[in-house]
């Protein structure tokens, strides 16, 4: 089975992140980026499926030039080829526009007939979690989100979704789109051999024109919502210190009760 894995290049959460003054979008030049960690699970799952049967794994990213690093990491892990959709007009796109570009790129990458599309359940920067559902909708495919276990059997798949109180097992016919959680597997690290092999793997560069997507349909001006202001969260206020004068326990209980913790 051939699998397309959508991956996102996100700012490294370890570093100080900033927004651009002019349009309140993330300043990507100011921070180091990396393959969104949750997407590593999607890549790993795709590699496992292909290793157990056959087929090719294509990693697809929509993002600025630096996003090539996300593809590189996935290729180093073992994916077969990459597609990088890069176009200045995409800057500032919202989830709906991003899903449009992804859906068109998936179609083009699979000659119009994708078999299985995998994604992380959410990006580690935007944390919207809606793009998988939107892409599935655009492709007219069953959407199976938040999968913590996935098995492929013939023309269908089974996935386990873990809720707070219960786990469901879902069956869907293929082709389908599945978003995965960080419970589904343990992503592998690249290896020296993987790093060397990745250098020879093909990565295609596409623009909106290559996908036949109208530049007016995406980007910051087409976004349904706009960020008007960004403010840092104020530093946390000093905590309350309860001095124990023999009644420490009572005071502590009162404090917790006041906050409705008890």
């Amino acid at each position: 089975m051939n699998i397309v894995v959508c991956v996102k290049y996100v700012p490294d959460a370890q570093s100080e992140r900033a927004f651009r003054e002019q349009d309140k979008t993330v300043d990507r030049d100011a921070v180091d980026g990396l393959l969104s960690e949750v997407d590593e699970y999607a890549v790993e799952e795709a590699l496992k499926i292909v290793e157990a049967s056959e087929g090719e794994v294509t990693v697809l990213t929509v993002g600025p030039a630096q996003a090539a690093d996300a593809i590189k990491k996935a290729l180093q892990m073992g994916a077969d080829k990459g597609v990088h959709v890069c176009d200045d007009a995409i800057h500032g796109s919202d989830a709906a526009a991003t899903s449009l570009v992804l859906a068109e790129a998936i179609k083009k990458a699979t000659d119009g007939s994708p078999e299985l599309v995998l994604m992380g359940m959410t990006s580690t920067d935007g944390v919207m979690g809606v793009v998988p559902a939107m892409v599935a909708e655009r492709l007219g495919m069953p959407q199976v989100t938040f999968a913590s276990e996935l098995t492929i059997e013939g023309g269908s798949l089974r996935a386990r979704r873990d809720g707070d109180a219960a786990s469901d097992t879902i069956e869907a016919s293929l082709p389908a789109l599945v978003s995965v959680t960080d419970q589904i597997n343990e992503p592998r690290y690249p290896s020296f051999k993987g790093i060397m092999a990745a250098k020879k793997k093909p990565v295609e560069q596409w623009t909106l024109a290559d996908l036949g997507v109208d530049a007016g349909a995406v980007g910051i001006d087409a976004a349904w919502t706009k960020v008007i202001d960004v403010a840092k969260r104020p530093p946390r206020a000093q905590g309350t210190i309860v001095k124990d004068e023999g009644d420490g326990g009572t005071k502590l209980a009162e404090f917790l009760a006041a906050g409705k913790f008890l």
Binding site: Y189, S191, F192
Partner: protein, 412 residues
Amino acid sequence: MAPVQRLMPTEIGEELIELTRDICAKELAPRVDEAERRARDNGEFPREVFDILGRAGLLSLPQPEEYGGAGQPYEVYLQVIEEIASVWMSAAVGTSVHSLTAYPILTFGTPQQRTALLPDILDGTRIGAYALSEQGAGSDIGSMTTRATRDTESASESDSESDTGSTSEREGDGGAGGEGYRITGRKAWISHAGHADYYTTFARTADSGGRGLSCFIVPGDAKGLSFGQPERTMGLHADIVREVMYDQVEVSADRRIGAEGQGMAIALAALDAGRLGISAAATGLAQAALNVASAYARERQQFGRAIGEFQGLAFLLADMQAAVSSARATYLYAARLKDAGRPFGAEAAAAKLIATDAAMRVTTDAVQVLGGAGYTSDFPLERYMREAKVTQIFEGTNQIQRLVISRHLLGG
């Protein structure tokens, strides 16, 4: 703390450093404390570290690709060792020792021996121990008494391994047909002993002092091989060391590496390269100590300001930084000589001397920077300090490094 600035000679070198940092942060760092404690208390050996590093290809960076290595220059390999050491010293030393055990096979083995032995070693399927030292023969290895005697029943045996047919088929069958050697003796302070899959063993084949030694690869499950209790060491606990006892251990002739009598030359050549690994590891350890100390000096307030604002302490930190920088520069210089195929023995000995002395001083001073906190195990510095000490002792004490350097200088 910003990571160390590294000038890597190639893009692949940069990518390997990135991979190493990733694995160190996510796989090694979370394991260190628990694994060191279990090694100290129960003698448990963290074998999984070798699996993790082996899978990533980091156990075999300097060896040629033809045998499963990565074909990387020492300039890259050693900086990877340094990065590992800055997170887990025992893991870095283990990686270096593992390379040391493969060195004789790679450099002095026949093509058949290399093909038969190296692939499993380089991918970490089999890990090695380097059995050279003895209770009575530490610095003075020429006085070793472990003896390898030719099996007398053996039919007259050709000296040329290539004439004895397929070596790989006979792997592990320990001298079939009585052809080969029997090793008897005792090795001391052997890293990985009892857990290694093979022992690169040096033993006496003739009574001619240093010229009577030979090198053998002894399988870990060989009959007659046994081990002492793990030594109670000062630190570096996950580097389990103990005695290795050989009682009439049979080794086939095709597991002798190099010629009879070549053992001393092989051991010393392996140590020249191995010392670079120890130098890099010591540098990483010193860097780790410096990182903890400088972060603390910025935070800790006394007399109404950060202690780092007192020049008496700021200059101590500056000296620590200078020591780390000179250690790194010195081992990298030796590495570049080696990579260029030039003689590098004296420079490797100097690197070992400088880097390990730097590690001892920097870790000791780092404890000083933290004061009482540094002396407790709430911070890793007391551990770093104990780990630094052994780097001045193994793979040739620092006195022996001076001996090596002065012999290069003065001859003799």
